[in-house]
Amino acid sequence: MPPQRAPRGGYQKPKHIRKTLRRLMGYLTRNPLPLILVLVCLLISVGTNLEGTYMLRDIINNFVWSGCTDVAGLGRSILRLVGVYLIGALAAYLQAAVMVRLAQRGANRLRRDLFDALQDLPLSYFDQHTHGELMSRFTNDADNVQMALEQSVVSMLSSALMFVGLVAQMLRLNWRLFSVTLLVLILTAAMFKLIGGKSRRSYQEQQAALGALNGNIQEMIEGLRVVKAFTHEDQATADFAALNETYREAARRAGFYSGIIGPVSHNLMNVSYALTACLGGVLSVLQGFDLGGLVVYLNYSRQVGQPLNQVSQQMTAVLSALAGAERIFAVMDTPPEADAGKVTLAAVRQTPTGLVELEQGDRSSRQWAWKVPGADGASRLVPLRGDVRFENVDFAYVPGKRILKGISLYATPGQKIAFVGSTGAGKTTITNLINRFYEIESGRITYDGIDVRDIAKDDLRTSLGMVLQDTHLFTGTVMDNIRYGRLDATDEECIQAAKTANAHSFIRRLPQGYQTMVTGDGANLSQGQRQLLAIARCAVADPPVMILDEATSSIDTRTEKHIEAGMDALMEGRTVFVIAHRLSTVRNSNCIVVLEHGQIEEKGDHDALLANKGRYYHLYTGQFQLD
């Protein structure tokens, strides 16, 4: 079902109407032919409509009112009339059918481009915009655009044509009568402007009140348990009642203005009808204005208000669609993730003469190399070893609010680096810099001696495996979810990965085993099971470097044991950066980095740090000191 529309007269104003309109038209069609067809059909349907009414004049003058009794002639005339109407209806159908296709295809392209653009945006964009906001680009804005393309554009065009046609016909029939109609039309236009303006303003007030009201409802219902824990029900209800009353008044005002536009314009047309009927009758008596003409004129004058009404109605839809389109284009125009990296990842094999690049899709070797293009166009191969270094790295999510300061550290191939520190110390942030989820402010991060900014992002990330604490799964089977790690993995490889990750046994016990559907981000699995699947997903990708965010307290001891075993298996023989919550991980690390307030407070291996009696000592043994 179509979504609710903003009431008439209320819309957010688009800023660059012309530019947005032109770009939107590009989505409708790049081929002028269907548009010409639509236009021709429109002309035909408007023309037949005018002509059909006009034919009444002769029918009345020549047959009905002439005193002649040529019934066969009347029949023929009416058959002609029916013919004209049929052509009109056919043209109207053709036009609508073409338009539906154009509009739907256009909306399809718009959604595709929007989604594609979204996929390429940097993560910082997703941090700054809520999911709801981005969803509404699709659900509200794209829908509004689709409806406007499908209905409003044509409706406005046909209203304009109709209006022009009606005015021309009326002028042709009797200019004296038309002067009366014109007067009422001017009055109607003035009324639209007056009430429309009031309606827009009051609608904005209504929206503001609605925002406040809905915000309160959301918060109070989501926090209902807290409301009850603090017996705050009466206060909450009183606050709500006040907002509810404010909204009611605002909605009543806005509804009044948008509600009277219809009756007022409609009845102004009735006034025009009354005046022209009266004057027409007089003209017919005094000047011999033919009765057929009068009947036709009155018919026209009853219709002439409709296009105005239509335009004012559709204007809201069109403008709100344009505002939506503008927001959509703003997303599309946001610069995508910067990626100037030229260094790519290549599968290689060691031969006596050195590294040799493998054919595409050849996975006979597990060896990888960086293909570094030289100035002369040739490229050299640098073996991928997993040596990662931070050199004096500074970072801020928001310019000026520095999160990491002067971070220097290194991991040689096969080493395990553990990050420890309190919440908000910057542990996750550091790992997000290695794979360039975010760009550093100053300093340098190198990977096998190559600045990560010189490596093509996709290749960089392919070489890094990630297991995040907030596990996210996709709708599909368990097998699909594991295969997400490497799309060309066979079923056997996926099962092997699940075994490595210690996930095989629970998967087997699921109702459909590996074919069990995962829905709603894995809502049908436990937190621990989701984590195990995420580990399996990473295992099948088999990356040389891993970034792990270990599970914390929300998992019970037994599941945690399973996960630990999986994680440990995954860490074997790789360079690993781990945000460590387990003492065993920390202890076995080659280097423990203690972070506090975005700085490295101390680093070294377990024994060295314990001997140091610094922050690390307190973090993990502080409990013994508190007595």
Binding site: E222, A251, F256, G262, P263
Partner: protein, 577 residues
């Protein structure tokens, strides 16, 4: 639905009653005008009677103006009634939801309660706003036009006998197909939204695995399917208007032919014929309008049903009819053979079975155990967020079900697992604990919860506004504010349900310290996962699969409880030999 509308129009009944009268008057005024026009054509023009024409003209203008007045009044009263109805309904829902117990919230889910209070109420209000006008106008128009048409020429009106059933059949046919196909569209819309939602939530995973292209293809597949569904319904729906136009035009042509023949034969007047044609068009229009608004009505029906469900729900927990004499608040908690299961759960297994537990006033008690063993359920029974399904929970010797709920909860401070702060300043949030707290009390509570220093480091201190429940704070900071809020209440029993998980060990220890110092007489019950959080408790209770599997001090349990040893081992692995 009508019943619901009637009930919630309280205070706006006058508007709801008079609005439709004006709307109906507007239609009647409009419908008389063509008759006057017919009089001009039939009576005045042939006789050249200009006075008569002016008279009729003036009457028509007056009718148009009267009709406009009625239209404005109708709109004014109608919107007043429908928005008043909306406000009443929303308030009724909100008040009802405030009486819900936790079990009721579980049953409906917060998200669904929010949708019902916002979207569904708005749907009903919109339906009433637009429906009122159409539902009054269309039938009145149909009736008046039908009466006049039959009065003008009953033979000619026979055309309607053919055309109306034809139209109804065509509309019903297209609508039926349309509704079915719209159902499919809705499913595809959901599918597209699902891909979208997943991608937004899991964007880090997508990027980490370099699956942008994969996801783009996936999206395009559901996008194409959606477009196909849209097109299928679109090409059918767009045929509706042209077909209707043809029907109306055919009716007009038929009337013109048969009526024209009558006029030729002198059996009918031209003016009346013209008016008749107008009435036919209006009759057919109103038939269309009625059928369209029936469709609207069926959508509002679904909303009405969802709202009624909430309004009809019997709150799970109600105040006792005759409250017991209330003892002085000391904070002694007792579970007597308590069993509990969630009514919303599917398995029907007991979460807690036959729990016997006595916590003396002023004791510091810790509860530990794996996920899903009923730790939260246990403490939720004390403030009667849920009712035990068997046995009794007593506070200071009185069954919690014999307390007025308000009185009971005043005595208990609770920091829930899912902390919620509200969009207000830190001060306003803390004052939830005690509305009339002095500045000193506020500062003391903040200090006790180890929140004071970070609050003061914020630019506006206690007056810092929290956006969207504190997105600008870290998890640990939010937890500390929630603890401060509960401490400010100075309750007899303070319960912390896993609410220090994001606070580091040192800070947690400091908070514990302040419990000892400042809440000496308060019974403190904490649920935690970390041994370090529970080891200093006066008593540690181990929950395992719905029952108590051990209780004692840290040393006692470490010496003699296998489960506790296992938990301890897993958390101490690798620390000091």
């Amino acid at each position: 639905m009508l019943n619901m509308i009637r009930q919630h129009l309280k205070g706006y009944g006058r508007q709801a009653a008079t609005g439709p009268v004006f709307m109906a008057l507007e239609v009647v005024c409009e419908m008389i005008m063509p008759l006057l026009m017919a009089a001009i054509v039939d009576n005045a023009i042939p006789r050249g009677d200009t006075t008569y024409i002016f008279l009729m003209g003036a009457a028509m203008t007056a009718l148009a103006l009267l009709s406009m007045f009625c239209g404005i009044m109708g709109a004014k009263l109608g919107i007043g009634a429908s928005q008043g109805f909306g406000a009443n309904l929303r308030l009724a829902l909100f008040e009802k939801i405030q009486t819900f117990s936790f079990a009721d919230i579980d049953k409906f889910s917060s998200a669904s309660l929010i949708t019902r209070t916002t979207n569904d109420v708005n749907n009903m209000t919109m339906m009433l706003t637009m429906g009122l006008r159409i539902m009054v106008r269309a039938p009145v128009m149909l009736l008046v036009a039908l009466v006049i048409a039959v009065a003008l020429n009953s033979t000619l009106a026979l055309v309607l006998v053919v055309i109306i059933p034809l139209m109804v059949v065509i509309i019903a046919g297209i609508m039926k197909v349309g509704i079915r196909l719209f159902g499919q569209v809705q499913k595809r819309v959901d599918a597209v939204n699902e891909v979208l939602q997943e991608n937004l939530v899991a964007i880090r995973v997508v990027k980490a695995f370099v699956r942008q292209d994969f996801e783009k293809k996936k999206f395009q597949r559901s996008n194409d399917e959606l477009t196909d569904a849209f097109l299928k319904v679109g090409v059918r729906i767009v045929s509706l208007m042209p077909i209707m136009t043809v029907c109306m035009n055919a009716a007009t042509a038929a009337v013109l032919f048969f009526g024209g023949r009558m006029v030729m034969g002198g059996r009918f007047d031209l003016g009346s014929l013209q008016a008749f044609i107008g009435y036919i068009a209006q009759i057919l229009m109103s038939v269309m309008m009625v059928s369209m608004s029936l469709l609207q009505l069926s959508r509002a029906q679904a909303s009405a049903r969802r709202i009624q469900e909430v309004l009809d729900a019997q709150p799970d927990i109600q105040d006792p009819a005759a409250p017991a004499a209330l003892p002085a608040a000391r904070g002694e908690v007792e579970f007597r053979d308590v069993s509990f299961k969630y009514s919303a759960s599917h398995t029907g297994d007991d979460v807690l079975s036959h729990i016997d537990l006595h916590i003396p006033a002023g004791q510091f008690t810790a509860i530990i155990g794996g996920t899903g063993v009923g730790k939260s359920s246990l403490v939720n029974l004390i403030p009667r967020f849920y009712d035990a399904t068997g046995g009794a929970v007593l506070l200071d010797g009185v069954d919690v079900r014999d307390y007025p709920t308000r009185e009971l909860r005043e005595r208990i401070g609770m920091v829930l697992q899912n902390n919620v702060l509200f969009s207000a300043t830190i001060r306003e949030n803390l004052l939830w604990g005690k509305a009339d707290a002095t500045e000193e009390e506020l500062v003391q509570a903040a200090k006790d919860a180890q929140a004071y220093s970070f609050i003061m480091s914020l630019p506006q201190g206690f007056d810092t506004p929290l956006d969207q429940g504190g997105v600008n704070l870290s998890g640990g900071q939010k937890q500390r504010l929630c603890i401060a809020r509960a401490m400010l209440k100075k309750p007899a029993v303070l319960i912390l349900d896993d609410s220090t998980s994001a606070v580091d060990s040192a800070t947690e220890a400091a908070i514990r310290e302040s419990f000892y110092k400042n809440l000496k007489d308060t019974t403190v019950i904490i649920i935690a996962q970390r041994i370090s959080s529970v080891r200093y408790a006066d008593e540690i209770i181990i929950l395992e699969d719905d029952h108590i599997a051990g209780r004692g001090t840290h040393e006692e349990l470490l010496a003699g409880n296998a489960i506790y040893q296992e938990i301890y081992q897993s958390q101490q692995e690798g620390v000091g030999e």
